[in-house]
């Protein structure tokens, strides 16, 4: 269990903007607001944090009593979910099909055998096989709004949650104010509307790791749309010279081979950007070819 951080917001001055800060979904979150009105910035930051915390509370797999906990503790019984959860499950269903089974919200249980801490502890292949019995969206019966999950299987919306929250927060801010804001949840970000006093928001993509700092921070300019990054900067295993990325292929239960260290994708929404970067990581060696084929705007690091 992760300790829940203290929920508070703060606003401070940034470069020609005001920056609202809070923590949500285990990430530092910031809202860059093109305004010099502190009261307005505080109002928008509170609104953003409120929406982020609502989504975190509702969909975090670490919290007891929420919809995810109810689904995962149903012991094979059918449960009826609310509209928002149903939309996320529909989305996950589509992604499962689009990725030919590589994107699977039931793959979280593989964490029982895989610990990506930079060490060399590979799991016993038999243990992986055993856990794999409890993985597979195709084993789930989903008839909106009714979900039936086999006992022992679990749903983890963590692969979608943060990008979804960024888009939801951006949508709320767009409705609530006229100034441009950049919603940045630990590198997954979206712009509410094109800024007026500048050409674009400037965002840094961090180097892959401090040890690999021959590649400098890349600065991106974004006027509209969103960016999302998938990567394994810290989360990986290394044994016998082979680096195992934390991106697991739910069909085999083993890490995707020769995946890039990170993939950043720009798209109209953070959700699309996040899914394209995740699907690219799941393509492993073919990540760039996949993104090229999709006509995506991306920055890949290996």
């Amino acid at each position: 269990m992760e300790r829940r951080p203290v929920r508070q917001v703060s606003v401070e001055a940034g470069q020609d903007c005001l920056v609202g800060h809070f923590d949500a979904m285990a990430s530092p979150c910031e809202i860059l607001i093109e305004s010099d009105d502190r009261a307005e910035a505080a109002r928008l930051t509170k609104l953003a944090a409120g929406e982020a915390w609502r989504i975190e509370d509702k969909f975090s797999r670490y919290l007891a009593g929420n919809i995810v906990a109810r689904m995962n503790s149903a012991r094979g019984n059918a449960i009826t979910v609310d509209d928002e959860t149903a939309s996320l499950l529909d989305f996950a269903d589509t992604l499962h099909t689009l990725s030919k089974g590589r994107f699977d919200i039931t793959s979280g249980v593989l964490r029982e055998v895989w610990t990506f801490d930079g060490g060399d502890g590979l799991p016993d292949p038999q243990a992986v096989k055993d856990v794999l019995q409890r993985v597979g969206w195709d084993r789930v019966t989903w008839r909106r709004p009714v979900l039936t999950l086999q006992a022992g299987m679990e749903i983890d919306l963590g692969g979608i949650g943060k990008e979804y929250a960024v888009d939801r927060v951006a949508g709320r801010l767009r409705e609530a104010g006229t100034c441009s804001a950049l919603v940045n949840f630990g590198g997954d970000l979206a712009v509410t509307r094109a800024p007026r006093q500048r050409q674009a928001w400037r965002v840094g993509i961090e180097p892959v790791s401090a040890a690999n700092n021959e590649c400098n921070e890349t600065v991106l300019e974004i006027a509209t749309g969103a960016l999302a990054t998938s990567g394994d900067s810290r989360r990986y295993l290394q044994k016998d010279g082979i680096r195992y990325s934390h991106i697991l292929d739910p069909r085999s239960g083993w890490p995707v081979e020769r995946a890039p260290r990170s993939v950043t994708v720009a798209a109209d929404t953070c959700t699309e950007a996040g899914m394209l970067s995740t699907l690219a990581m799941l393509e492993g060696y073919n990540a760039e070819a996949f993104l090229d084929g999709e006509g995506a705007m991306y920055w890949c690091r290996r």
């Binding site: 939309s87 689009l98 979804y164 939801r168 509209t224 749309g225 969103a226 959700t271 006509g295």
Partner: protein, 437 residues
């Protein structure tokens, strides 16, 4: 921003996201890597043999891209020209003395040598500024301003272009227009056409500054034929009007039988020309048409770039240029690029060797070797590499050889055998460095 073609996954993903969020995205993504400034710098040396023209130039072009592919470019060129250039007079069996363009002193050319004016020395600074702006997804425009300044010559220009992509960006059609106004303020004044070269101190043959206006238009099509082949076809039109004469070039006034230059004697105590020389005269209008075609062929890392240009103008100069480059990768980070260029041109209709004494002057005449009948070959090699920091460097060395011939019917009497086209060999060395910051 590159056009994003929506294939199955991204289109389905966009639809799924739209229903998840209950709304379509309000604006398409506009993002790009912030490139800062991209600088292209080059140091170029051009040197002709036999102490003729030497040019050293430094070029800096900075380009800054903004979101949505708008770009600002700023260019600076500084160059220094020194050396001697043929003044247009023919060889003689005796030494020849000429008054310098400034009119303040003389120089003497030994017998049987090609008369070269060694007063040639100039420093030029050129500045340019440009702005590129896409209009929507398929249209692109650019506008630019240029100026160059040297001791006796000033150029101011304005240019603009418009292009549109068709056929899933496989076809680009473009049009460009440039106008320029150039002003001559030659050392010692602008010579009156066909006026005689006077003694030191004489100014009766010169007037003030002159100018010309130039309009250039280009229409082009670029077509991607396949993943390997890209072709381009351009038509361009150019019209210059105004003062098109070279104020420093003269013609020898010769005897109609011997072909030797008429001698003269400056008054006692005064320095001046030893022979009769007349300043040249060119038409005040020139229209050029040219067709240019280029193909780039990509084959496993190697790139063959071949082009051909045909130019014709109403001075009756026709020229053909064939240019071939082959870029050949060497290892991961470098390449070599051999270069061959062939050029040939016919002479202008008013090109001549000398003016005949006692006959009616033609309307126009020039003996400038650049308006003559000549061929030129350039052969060179470039080596380029990418530094660890991702910057690009290259060195280029080329040899240029220009050989011409004088049509036999232009030679009179003793000129036959004595007068030859002033052939030219030159070397070109270039170092270039491209970096971003």
């Amino acid at each position: 921003m590159t056009e994003r073609k929506q294939t199955s996954v991204s289109a389905a993903l966009a639809a799924a996201t739209c229903s998840l969020l209950g709304a379509a995205p309000i604006a398409p993504v506009q993002a790009q890597e912030d490139p800062g400034w991209d600088f292209n710098t080059a140091l170029l040396y051009y040197g002709e043999d036999n102490d003729r023209v030497q040019d050293l130039s430094l070029n800096i072009l900075g380009k800054r891209y903004f979101v949505d592919d708008r770009a600002l470019s700023l260019g600076l060129t500084v160059d220094t020209l020194t050396g001697a250039t043929p003044n247009g007079a023919i060889r003689q069996g005796v030494p020849q003395t000429f008054t310098r363009p400034s009119g303040s002193s003389v120089y003497t050319i030994p017998a049987n040598e090609l008369p070269l004016d060694d007063t040639f020395k100039d420093t030029r600074a050129a500045l340019s500024v440009g702005w590129e702006q896409p209009l929507g997804r398929l249209w692109k425009t650019s506008v630019g301003l240029s100026g160059s300044f040297e001791y006796d010559y000033t150029h101011i220009g304005l240019n603009g272009s418009l292009s549109r992509d068709f056929n899933q960006r496989n076809t680009t059609v473009s049009a460009g227009l440039a106008i320029a106004h150039d002003t001559w303020d030659p050392v010692g004044g602008t010579p009156v056409p066909f006026a005689p070269m006077l003694d030191v101190g004489g100014t009766g043959n010169k007037t003030g500054g002159e100018s010309k206006d130039v309009i250039d238009a280009v229409f082009g099509v670029t077509q991607v034929i396949s993943r390997r082949l890209l072709v381009q076809l351009n038509y361009s039109f150019s019209n210059s009007s105004g003062y098109l004469t070279d104020p420093y070039k003269v013609l020898s006034l010769v005897d109609g039988v011997t072909g030797d230059t008429i001698t003269r004697v400056p008054p006692p105590g005064v320095e001046g020309p030893s022979h009769e020389f007349r300043f040249e005269s060119r038409p005040d209008d020139r229209t050029k048409h040219s067709l240019y075609t280029q193909a780039k062929y990509y084959m496993g890392g190697k790139v063959l770039d071949a082009s051909y240009r045909y130019m014709t103008d109403d001075w009756e100069i026709d020229s053909h240029t064939v240019d071939l480059r082959l870029r050949w990768p060497v290892g991961e980070r470098s390449y070599v690029e051999p270069h061959l260029r062939f050029y040939t041109q016919s002479e202008a209709d008013f090109y001549t060797i000398s003016l005949v004494d006692g006959t009616e002057l033609p309307a126009f005449a020039s003996s400038d070797y650049r308006l003559g009948n000549f061929d030129a070959v350039t052969a060179g090699l470039k080596y380029g590499w990418t530094t660890r920091g991702g910057n690009e460097m290259s060195i280029r060395a080329e040899l240029y050889r220009q050989t011409g011939s004088i049509p036999g019917d232009l030679l009179i009497g003793n000129q036959v055998g004595r007068e030859t086209y002033p052939d030219l060999d030159a070397i070109i060395l270039q170092f270039s460095y491209r970096f971003s910051r």
